[in-house]
């Protein structure tokens, strides 16, 4: 069996891999969407808690001032104190739970310190005694300082696109993007591989459709199709029919596998010589056709001579030395005889006359040559 090397078959696994890779893309995109919404949510929450902590810090300063002026009851001040306490608590919890917020250097520590300062006010606020104005002033100064620090973190680290919070969140989004890219890449590489396999299989199939499976030469259909085409296009060419003499005896004496071996050897000799100058096809059995793109008989004879030179070396078959002898007949077409049938008959007649004359040279068809009756056996396809 003559099979072109590199033929690959698509396996079942590919039919499962494609949907799996497509599915991986689907999951990666879902993950990207989910990550985006989560990060957006986290950032909003982070900004939210810091802004509200700051607002409460300001409101508390304001209430302490009002209390100092005697315009606010201690009960309202206590409510305010409790509210600010809860905001500190919530913000610290946010920082602990949101890794990106926790990654901001110094934020947790700054808020923790402010919270501790703030907690120290508790005794005074709940003591029931009037709080001295200088204590109130110190509280206002402390809270104002905390407010400034938090504001700085909020502006430069959380809200700013260059801040470490945004960078950290962008990094996470980027990982999700990479996953989408990786899944897509896998999918497309796989599809590309499948396409390549299909293209190669198709060309293998086409090759096998037009070639003889034993010798790898063009098969009868393909060769005859080419002849038809040459005629239709009114081309100038030479048609030769080559017959291997005494092939039947070889088959009888050495067996069919030996016959096949000889045909394969002969075909490889054809490929080394005649194929360089035209199309060689196997008509069937031991008969071959050669289409040459020239009408120059000398040139054709010279090409053929090269083949004969190669065949003058004996072929070794099971320790036997075999000399392959050919009979070849040819005819030229000058674009004026678009009838492939009669061209075949002419070449065939020429080949028979060569066989009769036992001449290894190419025998050319002469118009007065009688066409042998048995040519129909060769061109039975028409």
């Amino acid at each position: 069996m003559y099979v072109r090397p590199g033929a690959a078959a698509a396996h079942t696994i590919h039919w499962v891999l494609s949907p799996i890779f497509a599915f991986a893309i689907y999951l990666a995109i879902l993950n990207l969407g989910s990550t985006y919404f989560r990060l957006e949510n986290y950032q909003r929450e982070a900004i939210w808690s810091l802004v509200h902590l700051n607002t409460q810090l300001q409101s508390t300063q304001h209430d302490i001032q009002l209390y100092g002026l005697g315009e606010l009851a201690v009960k309202s001040l206590r409510t305010r104190y409790e509210l600010l306490w809860s905001k500190f608590d919530i913000t610290l919890n946010n920082i602990e739970q949101d890794a990106m917020l926790g990654d901001i250097n110094g934020l947790h520590q700054a808020i923790d310190e402010s919270f501790n300062e703030f907690k120290a006010m508790e005794n005074r606020i709940y003591s029931g005694e009037t709080i001295a104005p200088d204590t109130l002033d110190k509280w206002i100064a402390d809270l104002s300082h905390s407010h400034e620090i938090i504001n700085r973190f909020l502006l430069h680290e959380v809200a700013d696109a260059d801040g470490s919070y945004s960078k950290s969140s962008w990094h996470k989004l980027l990982i999700s993007l990479y996953l989408v890219a990786a899944a897509s890449l896998l999918f497309f590489i796989h599809i590309g591989y499948l396409l390549l396999t299909l293209v190669r299989e198709r060309s293998d199939n086409l090759f096998q459709l037009s070639h003889d499976s034993l010798t790898g030469l063009a098969n009868r259909n393909h060769a005859m199709g080419m002849l038809d085409e040459f005629c239709r296009e009114h081309m100038f060419f030479t048609l030769a029919i080559i017959d291997l003499n005494e092939f039947k005896q070889v088959n009888d004496v050495h067996g069919h596998p030996a016959g096949d071996q000889i045909l394969m050897h002969l075909s490889s000799e054809f490929r080394e010589t005649l194929s360089h100058h035209g199309l060689v096809g196997r008509l069937g059995g031991d008969e071959f056709i050669w289409l040459v793109n020239t009408t120059d008989r000398e040139l054709v004879a010279r090409y053929f001579q090269k083949l004969l030179e190669r065949l003058s070396q004996p072929y070794l078959l099971n320790e036997y030395q075999l000399y392959l002898r050919l009979s070849a007949g040819a005819t030229t077409c000058h674009g004026d005889n678009p009838n492939p049938k009669s061209l075949m008959a002419q070449a065939d007649a020429a080949m028979y006359s060569a066989k009769k004359a036992r001449s290894p040279e190419i025998s050319w068809y002469k118009p007065d040559q009688a066409l042998e009756k048995n040519f129909t056996s060769i061109i039975g396809i028409f």
């Binding site: 949907p19 799996i20 999951l27 989560r38 509210l83 809860s86 602990e96």
Partner: protein
């Protein structure tokens, strides 16, 4: 042959994976669905609401102001005491939530029961909730009621102070419902002191 063995395997794989995709996206990759369940009407920090507090709330043990909007068919104003809230059937559950690393145990009456106590025999549609820090939300009650929110009176068995988000905190058994993380946070209003029933029907 229209669809060979390999093709059938591919189609089968696709069907299995599509089903798996639906399952995964529903259960593990939760997306916000954009249903307007809660509308934040007043951000925390806006204290203008504090001056509107009913003076009755200053009396000992008084915890929750209830208001009925004109046309809602509910009483104009009532202040519920801790005792009244405690006398309703108490729900207790332990759940994770945004504001704590560990799961915590909440206990208190269902929001639905509190509303019925204030305004019996009504179906509640639109509510307005306010917190001490000025945070306020409008919410569509039937939409959130599916999560069985309670008005928590205790956290881990202890009464809450304002500093730890008390005295009242709306909480839902989040762990029982597969909702996207943080998606119900806006409902879980802490330092709650006032509920207004805007629309019933």
């Amino acid at each position: 042959m229209l669809c060979g063995k390999n093709c059938r395997i591919a189609i089968l794989t696709l069907i299995i994976l599509t089903g798996l995709g639906f399952y995964i996206s529903r259960n593990y990759l939760l997306m916000p669905d954009g249903k307007p369940m809660i509308l934040i009407t007043n951000k925390a920090g806006d204290m203008s609401g504090m001056e509107q507090r009913s003076p009755k709330l200053d009396a000992p043990d008084m915890l929750l102001e209830m208001h009925g909007a004109p046309g809602s068919g509910c009483p104009a104003e009532e202040v519920l005491s801790e005792q009244q809230l405690s006398s309703l059937p108490q729900q207790t559950f332990t759940t994770h939530h945004t504001w704590s690393k560990d799961a915590e145990t909440f206990s208190g009456p269902l929001l639905a029961d509190v509303l019925s106590l204030f305004c019996p025999g009504r179906k509640f549609r639109e509510l307005h909730l306010r917190a001490l820090d000025g945070y306020a939300i409008d919410l569509n009650f039937p939409t959130v009621d599916q999560y069985r929110p309670i008005i928590a009176l205790t956290l881990n068995g202890e009464r809450m102070r304002v500093r730890n988000k008390g005295h009242l905190w709306v909480m839902a058994p989040l762990d029982d419902y597969k909702v996207p993380a943080r998606s119900l946070d806006e409902l879980l209003i802490w330092q709650l002191y006032q509920i207004t029933v805007n629309v019933t029907g």
